[in-house]
Symmetry: D4
Subunit: 242 residues, 8 copies
C-alpha cells in the first residue's frame, strides 16, 4: 500500500541566486504545504540575512514560526519574512504602514492604488521593494475617477525614481500617472472586479495598451514582481556607482 507523502525528493534550492541576481531565491507559498514552506525557509535562512515568502497562509506562517522564531507574518498582504540584518530595525513594526515608516531606505519608490480593493497587491509590492532596500511610499487614494486627488500628489510623484501603479477594473491608473512623470511606471493589474473584468484581464489589456510612454506591465496581482523591478530601477547594482 502507498504512503501519503512522497515529497522527500523535492527540488534543490538555488543558493547562488543572490550572487547572480542580487537577492536570495524567494518562496512562492501558494500550493505548498506548511511543512514544505517551513523547511525551505529554514534552509534559506541558514545562508542569507533575509528570506521572503509571498502568498503565505496563516497556517504556513504558524509552521514557519516554529522553525524560525524570528519570522514575521503580515497577514494583510500574506507575506512572511525573516530579516536578520544588523539594520533589521528597518523592518520593525506590525503593519505595512509601520514598517515602511522606518528610516534608512535608499532612493524612492512610490506605490499607488485607488482604494481598499487593490491594497493587498499594493502592499505586497511596497513591502518587497522595502525589504530589498528601497525607501517606499504608499499612496492609497489615487484613482482615475477622482482625478483631482491624483493631481494633489503630483509634487510627490516627481520625487520617485520608479512608480508602481496598481489597479483593477479598467486599469487606467498607470496611463494617468505616466502622463505626469518622466520615470518608469510599472503597472500591476489586479483581479479585482466582476463581470467582464475576467479576473484582471481587462486591466491587463488596458495597461499593455497604455497610450502613455514609459509604462511596462507585470502579471495580474504580481505585486512582488513589480516590487523587484522597481527596486532594481531605484537602486542600481553597486558596480554602476561612480
Amino acid at each position: 500500500m502507498g504512503r501519503l507523502d512522497d515529497w522527500d525528493d523535492f527540488a534543490e534550492l538555488d543558493f547562488e541566486r543572490e550572487e547572480r541576481c542580487g537577492f536570495p531565491e524567494v518562496v512562492f507559498g501558494a500550493g505548498k504545504t506548511p511543512e514544505q514552506v517551513a523547511s525551505i525557509m529554514k534552509a534559506l535562512a541558514a545562508q542569507h540575512d533575509r528570506v521572503l515568502c509571498t502568498r503565505a497562509s496563516k497556517e504556513q506562517a504558524d509552521a514557519v514560526f516554529k522553525a524560525l522564531s524570528s519570522a514575521r507574518y503580515i497577514s494583510s498582504c500574506s507575506m512572511l519574512f525573516v530579516d536578520s540584518r544588523k539594520r533589521g530595525a528597518q523592518t520593525a513594526g506590525d503593519t505595512v504602514s509601520e514598517i515602511l515608516a522606518n528610516p534608512g531606505g535608499m532612493g524612492k519608490v512610490i506605490v499607488c492604488c485607488a482604494g481598499t480593493s487593490d491594497l493587498a497587491v499594493a502592499q505586497e509590492a511596497a513591502l518587497t521593494a522595502h525589504l530589498m532596500g528601497s525607501r517606499v511610499s504608499l499612496l492609497t487614494d489615487v484613482g482615475v475617477a477622482g482625478v483631482h486627488r491624483v493631481l494633489a500628489h503630483e509634487g510627490e510623484l516627481h520625487e520617485a525614481r520608479a512608480i508602481i501603479a496598481v489597479a483593477g477594473m479598467e486599469g487606467a491608473l498607470p496611463s494617468l500617472v505616466a502622463g505626469l512623470v518622466d520615470v518608469p511606471v510599472i503597472a500591476v493589474p489586479t483581479s479585482v472586479g466582476y463581470g467582464a473584468s475576467f479576473g484582471g484581464i481587462a486591466a491587463l489589456l488596458g495597461m499593455l495598451n497604455s497610450c502613455a510612454g514609459g509604462v511596462s506591465v507585470v502579471n495580474i496581482d504580481n505585486g512582488f514582481g513589480a516590487g523587484v523591478v522597481a527596486h532594481r530601477i531605484n537602486v542600481p547594482p553597486v558596480r554602476f556607482e561612480t
Copy 2:
C-alpha cells in the same frame, strides 16, 4: 510575529462625490470584511442622507445593523442602505415590491426581465434608481421566447423615460424592447445560464451587437450601474430644468 489585521490604512472616502456626480459614493460590498463595510457606511452616513452598499452579505448587514440601527437589508438583491431623508417613507417596506410601491418618485423608469433567474439583478437596478429618486416599475415576465407577453406590456413601455432590460442566456430582450420604443434602453447581461453562456459573455456580446437603435450596455450583472444610468436619464440634473 505579524498581526492578522493591517487594514488601518485603508483609503480615504471621497466625500465630494455627491456634489460632483449627484449621489454619494456607493460601497461595493464584495471582498470587504463586515467591519470595513460597517465603518465605511458609518462614516458616509454622518455626511449624507442616503448611503448605499451593493453586493452585501448577511454578515456585512449584521455588522452594519450594530453600527447604524436604521440600516435596511434587502436580501433578495443583496442591498444594504440607510435612508434618513424626511421623505424616507419612500423606502418603507420589507421587499423590493413594497418599496417600489411607495408614492413620490419622479418620472418613470421600467426595469424588465424574463423570470426568476434574472430577478436579483433586476431588483438591484430597480432599487438603485428608486433610491436615487426615480419612480420605478418592475416587469418580471417579459422574455424573447414568449413574445406575446412582451407585447401585452407595449402600452406601459411607452410611459417610461428610460428602460432597463435585464437578460441572461442569449441576451435578446433589449433588442426586442428597443424595437418597440423611442427612449434609451440600458441592457444588463446576467451571468445566468450554463455551458457556452460563459458566465454572461454570450448575453453581453448579444447586447453589444443589438440590431435595434438606442441600446447601450453595462457590465455583466451590473444592475446598480444600469440603475444609475437610467436615473440620470429619467431625472436630469436640476440645472437643466427650465
Copy 3:
C-alpha cells in the same frame, strides 16, 4: 447557366420605424453594393425628410448622387445623407466642423476623443446626433495621458445633457470624464491600437469595467449607436414635455 445577380428579392423596408422609434430606418452601408444602397436610400427618401447611410464608401456615394442629387457625403466619417427639411440649413457645410457649427439644435451633446486616430468614430457619433436634432460640440484633444487638457474643458462638460467619450487603446477616457460630471456618459471603444488591443477589445473591456458611475457602452467603433443614445437622452420624446 446562372446569373451574376439575384438581389431582386431583398428585404422590404421598415417604413413604420420612424413612428415607432423616432427616426427612419438607417442604412448600414458596409457589405452592400452601390446599387443596393442607392435604391434603398431612394425608397426611404420618398417617405422621410432625412435619410442616413453609415459606413458608406466613395463608390456608394457616387451611386447615390446619381439617384438623389441632394445627397451629401462626408468622407472623413464615411456618412452619406439626405436632409430635405425646411430647416435643412442646419446641415449646411462641407465638413463635420462646419455642419456642427450651424445654429438651431436642441439641448447639448458633447462628443470627446483624444486625437486624430479616433476622430472618424467621434465624427460619426456627432453627426448622427446632429442630424437627429441635437446641438453637438466635438472636443478632440482630451485624453487620459494629458489630464490637464481634460480639466481645461471641465466647465463646458457641465453644459451637456449627455456626453459621448470615444477612445481606443486602454479606453480610460469615459472613466475620467464620468468622474467629473452628473449626466450619462456613453462610451465608444474604437478599434484603434495594435498588439494586445485586439481590434478594440481592450478598450471595450476597460469601458465595461469603468469604476465611475453613469457609464454605459456601445459596440466597438459604433459612433452611430452612441449618437442615437445620446440624442434620445438629450431630447426626450415630445410626449414627456410638460
Copy 4:
C-alpha cells in the same frame, strides 16, 4: 527544379456516400483550384444525377462550365450544381426565387432571415434543401427588432416541418421563432456584423444559449449544413414510410 503542380495525387472520391447518407458527396469549393473543382464535379456527375459545389467562385464556375455544359451557377449564394434528373425542371430558373418557385418538392421547409445581409447564407440553406427534394419557402423580412413582422408570418410558420433561422449580430431570431412553433428550428449564425460580433461568435453563442426549446445550431455561415439537417427532418428516409 520543382514543378508548380503536384496535385495529381489528390484524394479518391467517396462514391458510396449517396447510398450510405442519402445524397452524393458535396464539394466545398473554397480553397480548391478551378481545375480541381471541375475534375471532381465531372467525376461525380458520371455517377450521380445531382452534383453540388458550395462556396464556388465565378472562376470555378467558368472552369466547370467547360467540363459540364449543363452546370448552373447561382452567384448570389455562390452555389454551382448539375441536376440531370428527369424532374430537373424543378431547378429551372436563374435566381433562387425562381428556382424555389418550381412545383414538386416534398413537405415544407421555411428559411427565415432579417434582411439583405444574411441573404446569401439563407439562400444557400434554401437551395440545398430544395436540391435534395424539399419544398422550401424563404422569408427575408423577419427580425427580432421588428417583432410585428415576425408575427405576421405566424400562420405560415405552422405549415413547416422544419424551420431554418439565419441571423447575424445578436442571433436572437431562432429564440423568437422557436417560441412560436412546435417543430425543430435549425439556427445558422452568420458572420455579418462588426466590432464585438467577432465574425459570428456573438450570434453563435446567442443561439447555443437560446432560452427556447427545440433549437439546434450549425457552424457560422453554414447554410448548407442547415439545409441538409432541415431536409432530413422534412423528408425522412423512405424506409420509415408506412
Copy 5:
C-alpha cells in the same frame, strides 16, 4: 431592517406553452431554492399531466416530494418529474434503464455515448425524449477510439429516426456516427475532460466543425435540449399526419 426573502414576486408561469410548443414549460432547477421548485412544480401539475424539472438536486427533490407525493427523482441524471397520464406505466421503474424499457413509445430515438463520464447527460437526453413520448434506446459503449464497437451497432443505428451523440473531450463521436446514417444527428458536447478541454469548448468546437453532413449541435451538457429536438424529429406534430 430587511427580510431574508423577497421572492414572493417571482415570474408568472407560461401555461399556454404546451398548446404553442407541444410540451408544458420545463423547470430548470439549478439556482432555484427547493421551495421555489416545489411551488412552481405544484402549480404546473395542476394544469398538465406531465411536469419536468431538470438539474434538480436531492434537496429540491425532497421539497417536491412533500408537495407532490407522486413525483419521481432519478438521481443519476438529476431529473425530477410527475407523470399522471393514464399510460403513466410508461415511466415505471427506478432507473433510466428500467424506465426506457417500458413499452409504448413512438418511433425510435437512439442516444449514444462513450462511457460512464458522459452518462448523466446521455440519460437526461434519453429520459426527456421518453417523457415526451418517444421510444428511446441508450447505447453507452460507442466511442471514437474503439471504432469496432461503433460498427457493431451499425444495424441498430439505421432503425432510428433521430440520433443523439453525446461526447466530451475531442467530441468526435457525432462525425463518426453521421458518416454511417442518413437521419439527423444531434450532437451534445459535455464538460467532461480536463486541461485544454475548457469545460466542453473543445468538444463543442469539434462538433460545430463536423466534416459529416446532418449534424447540428446544442449547448454544452444540454441533454434536455437534445432530447426535445430529437423527439420533435422522431414524432412530428399530429397535424402533419396524413
Copy 6:
C-alpha cells in the same frame, strides 16, 4: 419516488485494448465514485497483470484496497495500481524515487521539471513509463531561469531515447532541452502559475510554439499521456526488433 443510484448500467470495459494498443485500458479516477473505481479495477485485474488508475483520490484508494489487497497508492502523484507480474519487484517501494530506483527497465526515459510545483505531474509521467516497462530517470531541478543547472545535466540527457519536459508558467523548458538533444522531447504544460497563466494555457501555447525541433505536446497536466508516448518511443513494439 426515485432512487439515489442508477449507475448499474455503466459502460462495458474494453478488454481487447492490451492486444490492440500494448497496455490494458487505464482508469481515469476523477469524477468516478470510489465504488465505481473499485469494481472497474477488480474486473481489469482479473484479466491483466497490471492495472492502473490515474487521478485517484485517497477515498478511491481505500475502496480499491478492500477489493484488491495488492493495490498500491502513491499519493504524491495520485496514482493507484496493481502489479502482479513475476518481476513485480520492479515496483517495490513506497515513493516514486524508490520505485524508479528498482533495476530492470528497458532503454531510458528522462523526465525533467523545474521544482516542487510541477513535481506531481512529472511523477505521473515517470511512474506511467516505468509501469509500462521503461527505465526512467527523474530530474527535478532544471529550469529556464537557472540555465547552468540544465547544462550540468547535458551528458545524462544524451543517454535518453525520449525526454519528457514538464513546465508551468512560460513553458520554456522543452525548447531549452530540445536545443541540446537529438531525440524526441514530449512537452507537458502544467496548470501551475497564476494571473495570466490561465491554468496552463500560457505554458501550452509556449510549447506549441517552441522554436526548437523535435518537440510535441500533450494536454495540460497530462503526465500520463506523456508517459505513454515516451514509453512507446523508448520501447518500440516487439515486432520491430530484428
Copy 7:
C-alpha cells in the same frame, strides 16, 4: 535621408546544430526576402549535404535557383531543398509522390489525412521525414466520416514505427488512428475549415483532448515539426544501435 535596406546585420547561422540535434538548421521562408533566403541557403549548403527551407514562395525559389543551381522546389507543399548526398537519387522526382517512391529510406513512417484540403501540410510532413532519411508512406483518403476507408488500411498502419495524422475541422483522425495501433501518433491540426474552426483551434483542441493513448500534438499546420518528431522516433540516433 535613410536607405531602404538595413539587413546587413542579420543573425549568424547556427552551424553546429547538425552535430547537436542531428540535422542542419532549417530555414523558415515566410517573412524573409528572396535575397535573404538565397544567401542563408547558400551559406548552409557550403557546410552541409542537405539544406531545407519550408514555407518557401515561388519568388524565393527563383532567387535560390540562381544561387544554387541544384536546388529543388516542390510547389504543392512550398518546400525548397538541396540534396547533395551521394544517395541523392533518393530525392529524384518532380512530385512528392515520385520522391517518396524512391527506395532506400529506413524504417517506416505513415502520414495520413482525409483529402485534398489537408494535403499540403501532409506533404510537408512526409517530405521532411523522407529528407531526413525515413521511408515514408502517404495515405490521403482516411477520414473520420468515412470510417470504413480507415479500416481498409489497418494492416498497413501496423507496419509503421510512427504515424502522423493530419486533420482540420474537428481534428478527430488521430483519435481514430491511435485507437488501432501501438506506436506513437503525432497529430497535426490544420487551419482548414471555416466559421468556428478558428483557423485550426478547433482541431488543435480536439487533438489535445484525444481520448486515445499515445497521441502528441504539434502546432497548427506544422507538418515540418511533425516530420522531425516522426523521423526521430522511426530512426533513433546511431549511438542507440546495439
Copy 8:
C-alpha cells in the same frame, strides 16, 4: 455634395510633453495619411531638436522629406526622425548598425533577439533608446534553443543598466536572460510565428508568466515602448544626479 477631406480639425499637439515627460510627443505613423504625418512632424520640428515617427511607411517618409529636408528614414525598422542637435553626429549613418556605432551615448542598454524575424522590433527599440541619449548595443543571435550562444554574451550582459529582450514564438528569452542578471529586463513579445502563436499572444503570455525576477512586459511588437522604458532606467532624470 460632400468633400473627400475633413481632416482640417485634427487634434492639437501636446507641446508641453517634453517638459513633463522628458521627450517630445512621438508620432505613431500607422493609420495616418502622408500629409498628416508631414504636417505634424513639421509642427513638432519647429519646437524641438528631435522629432520621431514610428511605424512610418515609405510614402510617409517621402511626404516628410519634402517638408523637412533633414529628415531620415530607416526602412528596416520603419522609423522616421529629425535630429537637429549639435551632437547630431550621434545619429550619423544609414543603417541601425552604423547609427548605434556612433560614440557619445550615456550608460548602456542592451537589446537582444534571436534572429532575423524579430530584428525590426529590436531595431525600433534600440534606435528609440539611442535617439533619447542612451548608448545601445544590439545582440541578434541569442535564442533559447541555442543556449550556449546566450552564455557567450554573459559578460557583456553585466555591463548593461537595462536589457531589452525581444522574442516571438514561445517568448522564453527574457526568462533566460533575467536568470543571468541583476538589472531590469524589459520583455517585448513579437507577432512573429504562426499557428497557435496567435499574433504574439503566446509570447506575451510566456513573458507575463516569466519565472525569473525583474521582468516587465510591453505590448506586442512595441519596440518603441521598450526603448522608452529602458532609456528612463538607464539615464534617470537629471534631478536625481547627486
